[in-house]
Every structure is written in structure tokens, then in C-alpha cells.
Amino acid sequence: MEEENNILRETVAEFCEKNLDEKKIETEGITEKLTELIASQGFLGSAVPDKYSGSGLDETSYEIILEEIAKYSPSVAMKIFILNSMYYPAVKGTSAEDTLNDASTGKISVAVDFINKAGSIESESGKAKGTLKNILGTDADKLVVFGDSTSIVSGPFKSDSRDFMGFRGLKFGDLHLDNSVQVLDKHSRMAEIMENSYGPASAIGLGMISGALQKAIDYTNVRKAFGNKLRDFEPVSFRLARFRAMESILRNSLYSRIDPYYTFNFAMEHLVEIARYSVNTHGGYGYFKDFGVEKFYRDAIVMKSIFYGTDELRKLTEHVYSEKINFV
């Protein structure tokens, strides 16, 4: 099993090295051609069952794919995550399930709105009207909207895309709806979906930590100041070494499935700090796109800001207080 995972890891890393030019992805976006390529490798629909043209991979394999891809391109990892960890569980077992075929093969793109909570759209006789703000993936053909119920809206959509700091490979902006809506579930599936996504979201966080940290370690191994390599200044190398230890603990925690709450919390708590420090170690160069480190910092804060707020802390706290108490 471990050997299989290592082979998968190497295969994904090789693919990324060859095909994921993050600077290009950041300026041009994830093109249709690239989406097809990712789909042809079976990465796009990693966790979608094979009956829906996905790869039907287990959780660990899916997370390895996310982790390895996020080291190179957090945007591509996020696109895969949106399909497998948000869209798929939202449409699973519903009449919209067959849209997964086209989504897994990259023929259509999908988005999920978990921000507007559907308060801003109205549906009248099966038509959705209104504007959804701040959607990641405005080029979507299908959109799952969480409100009091879970529904799906079919494109094409009118959209205003705008510059966005994080996950720049995905288009971002507002979607204007004037389309048919189908109610998939009378309840909102959002809370459950978010909680089940802790593992995969941690895998993306881990990949970003790993990618940013590796850049810092490589750079401090060659860059000199005051006649020494930066690694020779112990406040710098101690910190990077501590971060590597944290990265390793996070990886072990994720794949041994000890506790997704703790893993997710640990990933989100350290993501920004490590990405920020990677920028630091690069001095002035870190502030420019060319060195490929500032993007981890941007993506990290966006990820933390939208995935990890008071709600998640409350869930974590509840989890802690609900554990069996042995000593009192």
C-alpha cells in the first residue's frame, strides 16, 4: 500500500513538473487544454466514482494528488477540490448526479457557492434570479448553491470577473443568474460537506506549506549575505527546520487519519505563517512574482480566511469538549 502511494506521489509530481507552469496559470488561468490534460490523467475526478467517469480513488490517493498538485499550483488543486469535495457530495444521489460525467472529464466546469448562502437569489417557477457575489470559478456551467436547501443552477451564466488575489488560476467574480434551478435536497448539505472536506482541504494546505517551505530551504542554501549562506544564520535555519518538522507532523497526522479536526486546525493555523516566512527569506525577490513564493502567501491567507473562521473554531471546540473525560 505504501509503495503504491509512493508511486502515485512520484507520478503526480512528475506530471506537475512537466505540465504545471504556475506563472502561466496565474496569468492565463487554467485553460481548457490544461483541464483536459488533468482530466486525462484521472486527476480531475479523482474521488468521483468510475461510473461517473471519475477515478474512484480512495481518500488517501485523492489527498496525495491534492497535496502534490498544491505544491506547484494551489489553483489547480482548488479546482479539483471544488469538484470532488464540494460539488460531488452535493449532487451525489440526486437527479443531477449524471452531470458528474462531463465534470470529471473536463467537458463542463462546476462551481459551488458556500458564501452567499443563497440569500441573494430568488427562485420563481424553477428560475433562479439574482446575483451571487464572490464566486471562485465564474466560468462554471453548473453551480451548486447552498441555502435552506441544496440546489443546482445550470448555466450559461452572465458573469463579471475581476482581479482576485488568491487562486488566480480560477476565474473570480460575481455571477448573474437568470436560469433554471433544480432543488436537489430540501436540506442544506453545506455543513456536512464542509466538515467532510477537512482532510482534502488539509492536503491542499499541506501541499502549499511544503511548496513554500521547499523554496525557502532551497533559496537559503544558495543565497549569501555577510559572506555566509543564509542557512548559516541560525534564526533562519532554526525556523525553517522547525517548519519542516511541523510539515512532517501534519503529513503523518493527515494520512494516519488520527483526527481530521486537529489536522485541519493545525494546517490552517500554520499555513499563513510558513508562506509568509518563505517570502521573508527571499528578501526583495520574495515580493515579486518571478520567484513564485508570494503566490503561496496570497493563496494561504485566502484559504485561511474563507475556510477557517469562527464556525470552524466552534466545531473544533465542541469536538474537544465532547471527548470522554477521564480524570475528573
Binding site: F172, N280, G284, Y287, V302, S305
Partner: protein, 359 residues
Amino acid sequence: MFEELEDYRQKIREFALKEFTEDVAAEYDRKESYPDDLRRKSLSLGIVDMQNPAKVLIAIEELCRVDAGLGIALTTPYFGSEVIMLFGNDRQKEILNDVYSGKYILGLGVTEPSGGSDVAALKTTAKKQGNKYILNGSKMFITNGAIADYLVILARTSEDSNPHHGLSTFLLNTKSKGFSATKLEDKLGVRATNTAELQFNNIELSEDDLIGEEGKGFYYIMMFFNISRIYVAAQSIGIARGAFDKIKSYIKENNVKDEDSMFRLSDVGTRIEASRQMTYNAASYLFEFKPKPELTSMAKAYSSETAVYAAEEAMEILGDESLYESVQRIFRNAKIMEIWEGTSEIEKLVIARYILKGE
């Protein structure tokens, strides 16, 4: 001193709110271009008064509070002027007057591609030939590099066993033959400021272009850092306050009451207050021409880390609302504070050295 300038502070605040609208700030950020029209407008209104250092700090803080990209763009055309003011000759001071009046834009080049922290290791040379100096080398990340009329340049004029000796400062006219500047693009933040890489190819400088005495350049630049680091502290306080403004409005508008948010709000507020006290304290020594480098470095390091901290807190507290460009711009702008005019690590080395010296 600062309390007496409340009216002036208000004037700057009004200017910034009127001119740095969200559309204008977003536009310059997107285009990554220098706002020369705004610079001219600010000159005509006397927004930056270089004769009054307390006013300079207030202007930097209030402008950066609304938008740091534009705020810094409007307050850096004078960058390096203090070196000329303190050590320059009469001709250079005439040029300085034209910098103050807005006719010329100034910049200062210390950092090189091979390093910025280790100033004494710079490789640019100005070799003396007869009564001329021949300047060769390159500079990296120079603010105003591609738009400046004059640049204060630090270069090696002689080899010495002590690397701090043998460095000199020059006032370089950017129209000189052999000078070229390439604008650097795709910065994370402060994108309304101009940043460039400079090349010097056998540029002839006269003795008249030398600022102060030959061989004293390193010390002049260290003296300059005592001033410019206070400016960066003021930029940082401005950015932190801008982030704080966003947090406060979010909390009020959304009627947020939870204690966790209250604690975070109070932590940001406390750090801003501490940054301000430290900066004004360090500045008070400087204004009496008795700078205390350790206090300056403490203020710079602490305030810049506060700017980053406040910006990240704003992103996190606002959560989904942080997806709007205006909040993100604060976050992107903040990070440069910990890098330029000495990284936090370099400030720590200065602080430690002075603490031990004082024992």
C-alpha cells in the same frame, strides 16, 4: 508636538479620502503605474511639507491609512533627500530645492542584485580617473528608479580592509550617458510605486557629484536609515490603521458581538498604539539630531510586523468579505514593510548591537 498638528492631520485625511477613492486606488494597483497626476495635485495643495518632519510622518501615516500604494508614491519623490540636506554641496542643495518644489523626482540606490542587507558588500564601483569618477555596476529594486531625475547612489571608491570604509555617495543625473533603468513588474503590493533595476555603464561623474566626503558613504547611509526607518514605521502604522478601520466597520455593520472578535480587535488596537508610541518616541530623538538607532530599529521592526499582523487579522476577521479587493490590497501592501529599509532580521541585529553597546 504631534497633538498640535491635529488640524494638519485632518487636512491630509480629507485629501486622502477625496483623492484615493476605491476606483482610483484599484486602477493604479491594477495598472501598476505611477500616479503623477496625483503627485502634482498633492504638491499644489502642500500635502507633504519636507521642512517639518513631524508633518511628514503625519502625512505618510494618513495617506497610507487610506491607500499605501498611492500614499507611498506621493511621499517618496523626496527619497534620499536627507543625505543631500545633511552632507550635500551648494549645487546639490539647489537641486534639492527643485526636488522639494516637485520639479524633480529623487531616489536612492543602495541594494544590488547580489544583496541588500549586507550594504558594505556592494559591488558597484566609482573609480577615480583624474578629476572624474567612472561609475560601473547595477542596483536592484530601486524605488522611483525609472522615473527619477536624480538618484543618490552608494558605490565603492576604494578597496579597504574594512569594507565599511571606501564607500561614497554620489548624486547621479539619470540623463547621464551610460545610465539605464528597467521597470520591475509584478510586485505583490505597493504597485503604484515605481521599482526598477539600474545599470551603470562607464558613467562619468564629476567631483562635484560626490556627496560629502569620499569614503564616508556607508556612514551617511546608516545615518539616512535612522530617518527612513522612521518613515517606514509611519507607513506601517498607516497600513495597520487602514486594516483596523476595515475591522471596526465590519464589526459595527454586522453587529458582531462575540468575545473572540472583541479580543482580536483589542489586540490590533493595542499593537497600533504601541507602534505609534515607539515611533514617536524614536522620532523625538531624531528631531533633536540625536537619533537612537536601537529605538528607531525597534519602532521599524515592531510597526512593520504590526502592519502585517493587522492586515492578516483584517482578512481573517472579515472572512468572506475579505474577498473584496480593498481589503486584499491592504494585505498585499503590508508585506513590503518587513522588507525594505532593513528586514526585520537586520533591525534585530542593530537592536542587539546597541543594547550590548549600552551595557
